[in-house]
Symmetry: C2
């Protein structure tokens, strides 16, 4: 049935400025290609310990249960929900984009009584938004810190009290935040968090860092029903990553090497420097897009530098612009999802991709692509971005 053997994979070098994956630094790809060793090899166990320690620093937590799950970010979401929910539990979810919707879907599959609290796409949540649902107790209050579908950033300040008023654990999606803006788990009193590696950590996709507070760990340990997923069952996986080293499943060894190096790069840069770098390039990109006369659906106080969402101008085919950027410059930017499908672009400046070179290239390439589709920018985006860089020197 195999009529030919395919040629080897020789992917083009892209500039990854979508909502992830982001550009992966050479040293991370090198780490990925180191020799595979066994998942119970003493050398690998030492790598696991380093990864856990560095993840704690990135998350801003001392949580013992901090590990990368063997799946992508969505597996991290499912890990948090299947381990903490038992059938019938009341779960309150803030929904202002695709990933809040996904939490609702996953929580329902766990048998939860889900209470979605909705807000317009592109708007961040504030603690007041939950005043209507604080009357009844809940098991979980779930929020998306960085909504990857809209680019809206929800400041977690004040949500610990909201959760406390419901007797709930506070669960946060930090997929697009980790490594790009402070997540600050312990400062915000977050009980459970999940993230991905292919966003602001600039590591290939395939692992989902998660972290559980002691309180979340107690809820896990006192479950009355088994976790519905064997693969994501933290009561068993914790024994592999913890002191027992009990075999559960074969960890994705080489991806763990890559994550180790990606975390090293973040710490070598310094987290404050890294966040400042994202902020600088994000503000330059925004200045450029606004100078071109493009509209940003997220208000200035709710934007995040690592992901900027821009409305496609009326009459412009957004997919055609993306195809042009890819074919002429090898630049990948993202299209919209859900309500925003066909209406916006999502431009990422994540991890290693957050550079002045990428800002200039993207604004210049976008200007050309728009012109080719008959849309003339109102002003010079590249020059406006350059102005931001000059003002910061």
């Amino acid at each position: 049935m195999q009529d030919r053997i395919p040629e080897p994979v020789t992917p083009s070098v892209r500039v990854l400025m979508g909502p992830g994956p982001s550009d992966v630094p050479p040293s991370v790809l090198e780490a990925l290609a180191r020799p595979t060793i066994g998942h119970l090899d003493p050398e690998f166990l030492a790598v696991m310990d380093d990864v856990r320690s560095m993840l704690r620093t990135l998350f801003g937590t001392t949580n013992a249960l901090t590990i990368p799950m063997s799946g992508t970010g969505s597996a991290g979401m499912e890990t948090c929900l299947v381990n903490l929910i038992e059938p019938g539990d009341r779960v309150v979810v803030g929904v202002n984009g695709v990933f809040g919707m996904r939490m609702v879907d996953v929580a329902r599959r766990c048998g939860a009584d889900v209470v979605p609290v909705e807000k317009a796409w592109g708007q961040p949540f504030h603690p007041d938004d939950f005043s209507g649902v604080q009357g009844s107790a809940a098991k979980l209050l779930c929020l998306v810190q960085a909504e990857t579908s809209t680019g809206a950033w929800t400041d977690l300040t004040g949500f610990r009290s909201v959760a406390d008023n419901m007797g709930a654990l506070l669960l946060v999606d930090a997929v697009t935040s980790l490594g790009g803006k402070p997540v600050d788990l312990d400062r915000h009193g977050v009980d459970a968090v999940y993230s991905g590696t292919q966003k602001c950590l600039s590591c290939p996709p395939g692992l989902a860092p998660i972290s559980f507070s002691e309180r979340a760990g107690s809820v896990l340990e006192s479950r009355k029903t088994p976790v519905q997923s064997w693969y994501l069952d933290l009561t068993m996986i914790g024994r592999y990553w913890g002191a027992e080293r009990a075999y559960h499943h074969t960890a994705p060894i080489n991806l763990v090497y890559a994550l180790h190096q990606a975390l090293r790069l973040a710490l070598l840069e310094g987290l404050d420097n890294r966040y400042a770098r994202h902020a600088l390039h994000g503000s330059a990109l925004v200045a450029g897009l606004e100078a071109m006369g493009l509209q940003l659906p997220v208000s200035a106080d709710a934007r995040m530098p690592q992901l900027t969402v821009v409305a496609a101008p009326a009459g412009v085919d957004e997919a055609s612009i993306r195809r042009r950027l890819l074919s002429t410059h090898g630049i990948e930017i993202g299209g919209g999802l859900g309500v925003f499908k066909g209406k916006v672009w999502r431009i990422g400046l994540m991890g290693a991709a957050a550079t002045r070179r990428n800002v200039t290239l993207c604004l210049s390439g976008l200007t050309q692509a728009l012109r080719a589709e008959g849309f003339a920018a109102a002003g010079d985006g590249v020059e406006a971005a350059a102005g931001v860089y000059r003002s910061q020197q």
Copy 2:
């Protein structure tokens, strides 16, 4: 909280002769380290198509729904079970080792009424073993083709009729078989199968190839309840890997590159050649171990060349022998699991690791390690293996 930044990962080069992961060829590691591109990039979609086509050849099937899941082999097991089981379904599982036990555990978490059919560890199943449970209808009949915990090979011949007698789908664990011995899905009438990449495909761990027959696809499409796992829901994932290319989750791009190359290597070698190579080196290893006076718990007609299980002699600390092999020669072999814990070694000759060099090295290293622990081999294992090679020339 980060008092030091860890040094880069520099794993030792091991000889991986355990139950997986196995040695990864240089060209597969090189493919792994190719530049990351987007999961919706047209170049990546072409890689996906190639991978699906090559997986079909390896599995021996024309099944349209043949894809690598974004998790390790156990995620493949869970994928098959969560997608096919609805609460209350009767599921018959052959249990003759850890992985049959795991299927029972996962199926129960799906709400199945599980009927385990047990057999002694190290024994393969025969169709007659299920005569007692064929009276009632069942949704699934589950078997482990290559039981990684014992090294027992179950020949699938005749099980299609057993499944038909129960009106059941036939579900098979091919984690340790794929690429080492023919799986022959379509010839055996298998409806659902899962495997892993880190065994006889000699690819790093992190992906789980699965395949569903049309019949299994119909059962999936006519479910009355949602699949309990969002991450593993094939009704959604099939739309990403299929013609629609609908976004579900970010695929582990670089692991897919590696799998592509690992599958190419299998096809370039030729599947018949590959199976013959495993058979040759497996028989040489067995001849060597038997010449040394060691006992093999699996009878000759139920062994598989890619994984040989050997009893540790009385009075020998099996873990100490494994530590010696690792520290003196960098050879990894596996210990026992479950009933066999502390009692056996599991020696893999999987994929790229199935070589005469590894057979000689393992027998020689094991002889030395046993001597150091006070056990004198009955005969010369290396010479016995050499005899097998001479006889095959």
